[in-house]
């Protein structure tokens, strides 16, 4: 790797995973922020930049900063869906490199399971050309992509199920995971169809949960109680908003965000020891692996077959149990970062990937609309 070490992740924490009955999104973010600052050995007064994404306020960083009692001199509430937090890490690293601030707090909170924000079925602006047809926006769009991938490459439901089964094996090693009982490929195939070809067990969980990540400058990061996890490279891209405007349903903008992150980090695919890849659905992972270049277009099915991504497999992936089995509160991206950092800190106990030095963390947002890739490394 040849990346300049400018910024590092120095603290991570989750809060309220699973069901957080009675809690609100500010509470979950405050709890995660406090725990992440403790993890870093910093206090709220060290925070001079605040990042969050959510649709719980018209100006979320204003509301959150007031609630937390901090006065950031830099804020960013970029919302590109589930990949927002990988983008925030990139933005924070860029801001630190520009000398604008030293310690960025990135948070997320959701009560998607116990107190979901009402979906109004409104048809705002460009939504008027899609909503009236009744496609359940997220799962329906990913189903359209899966069907097209199967048509072009002969990908099978069994291959998609391999991802769900392997991810559940990781979850069984993580006491924080929401679903831990083992499943087999037949369980996935026999679960009810939601939007063909996707079954219930091809789909992520719906849970509550909060998370926080602290990004600090090299100067701050070098003097803390835990070893820094360096941000070696990052990249961000987007290709569409509505699914009808996705140019090719089998290729995501991971192709661009991944290439940018690899180039900045100066690492090769072979050097990635552990991958945390957004798994809103099994097909999300398969498309992402191809678009990131871990295999060729159309070879994603073969790549994940034979439980290659499971514990003990050649390609350790989604080691906390993923959005499929650990938690998924709506915008899951922050939890990918948390797990990537813990793996590089050797904090993962039973599920620890031995000698992990470099992690790839990749978020996908919207309906395969946005992607953001972060490559992390330890000293």
């Amino acid at each position: 790797m040849n990346s300049e070490r400018v910024a590092a992740i120095v603290g991570v924490a989750e809060s309220g995973l699973g069901k957080a009955s009675g809690k609100n999104v500010l509470q979950l973010q405050a709890q995660a922020a406090k725990a992440a600052l403790d993890d870093a050995g910093l206090t709220k007064d060290d925070v001079d930049a605040l990042f969050t994404a959510g649709n719980w306020a018209w100006a979320p960083t204003l509301m959150l900063a007031e609630y937390l009692g901090i006065n950031p001199k830099y804020t960013d509430s970029t919302n590109i869906g589930g990949s927002s937090f990988e983008a925030h890490v990139g933005h924070a690293a860029a801001g630190i490199k520009a000398g604008l601030f030293n310690v960025a707090l990135i948070t997320y909170g959701s009560t998607n399971r116990t107190n979901p924000i009402n979906v109004s079925y409104s048809n705002p602006l460009t939504g008027q050309y899609e909503r009236p047809f009744g496609l359940p926006g997220t799962v329906g769009s990913y189903a359209l992509a899966a069907q097209r991938h199967m048509y072009e490459y002969g990908t099978t439901s069994e291959q998609l199920a391999e991802i769900a089964v392997a991810t559940r094996k990781w979850a069984s090693l993580n006491e924080k995971a929401y679903k831990r009982e083992p499943i087999e490929i037949s369980d996935v195939l026999n679960s009810r169809l939601i939007a063909e070809p996707l079954h219930l067990l091809d789909c992520c969980l719906v849970t509550d949960g909060g998370g926080a990540v602290i990004v600090a400058s090299k100067e701050v990061a070098s003097n803390l109680k835990k070893s820094p996890v360096w941000i070696l490279g990052h990249g961000e891209s987007q290709s569409h908003h509505t699914i009808s405007n996705m140019p090719d349903l089998t290729v995501t903008s991971a192709r661009e965000s991944g290439a940018a992150a690899f180039e900045m980090a100066g690492v090769t695919h072979d050097e990635i020891d552990v991958a945390e890849i957004y798994d809103s659905f099994t097909i999300t992972v398969l498309l992402t692996l191809e678009s990131l270049g871990f295999c060729k277009p159309g070879e994603g099915g073969a790549f994940v077959s034979g439980q290659r991504t499971a514990p003990g497999g050649a390609f350790p992936m989604n080691t906390n149990g993923g959005g499929l089995s650990y938690c998924h509160p709506g915008m899951y991206g922050i939890f990918l970062l948390i797990e990537g950092v813990r793996q590089l800190r050797n904090e993962c106990g039973e599920r620890q990937v031995k000698d992990a030095e470099i992690a790839l963390v990749h978020g996908t947002g919207g309906v395969l609309s946005s992607t953001s890739t972060v490559i992390l490394g330890r000293d």
Binding site: Y121, T126, P136, Q147, I194, S244
Partner: protein, 131 residues
């Protein structure tokens, strides 16, 4: 609550929705680069020209992808199972729609033609059926 499409219609989208009521599928074409445009907008996403004209699509195309929906939400939950699809019109634009007719016959790349589906509240949607 379900917001009525009528409440969303504005100057930019009205020709599309009005066309459907006359059983015409209206799309746009850029007067400068000649590319077709859907959904309607005031500037060409290809060349950024603001010389845009409306024209009637021939209403024919091919299925790019489709999915049979078994769980839907809100006003659509009793429609299941139904087939949602992306259709590539012959003019070169793609739209989200539904495919009606025999579900077993539906497949990617099959030819389809528009069929106008009257909803009860004075709204017509462009669905497609196999040719």
């Amino acid at each position: 609550m379900v917001q009525k499409i009528q409440d969303t219609i504005d100057e930019e989208s009205r020709p599309f929705w009005d066309g459907l009521k006359k059983n015409e599928l209206m799309i746009q074409q850029c007067d400068d680069c000649a590319k077709h445009i859907f959904y309607p907008r005031s500037i060409c996403p290809h060349c950024f020209s603001d010389n845009i004209s409306w024209k009637q699509s021939n209403g024919r195309g091919a299925i790019y992808s489709y999915t049979t929906i078994h769980q839907a939400f809100g006003p659509f939950k009793d429609d299941v199972p139904f087939v949602a699809a992306l259709v590539d019109l012959d003019e070169g634009v793609r739209m989200l729609t539904r495919i009606v007719g025999e579900r077993e016959q539906i497949a990617i790349n099959k030819r389809v033609k528009v069929t106008f589906h009257q909803l009860k509240d004075d709204l017509v949607l462009p669905y497609f059926e196999l040719e």
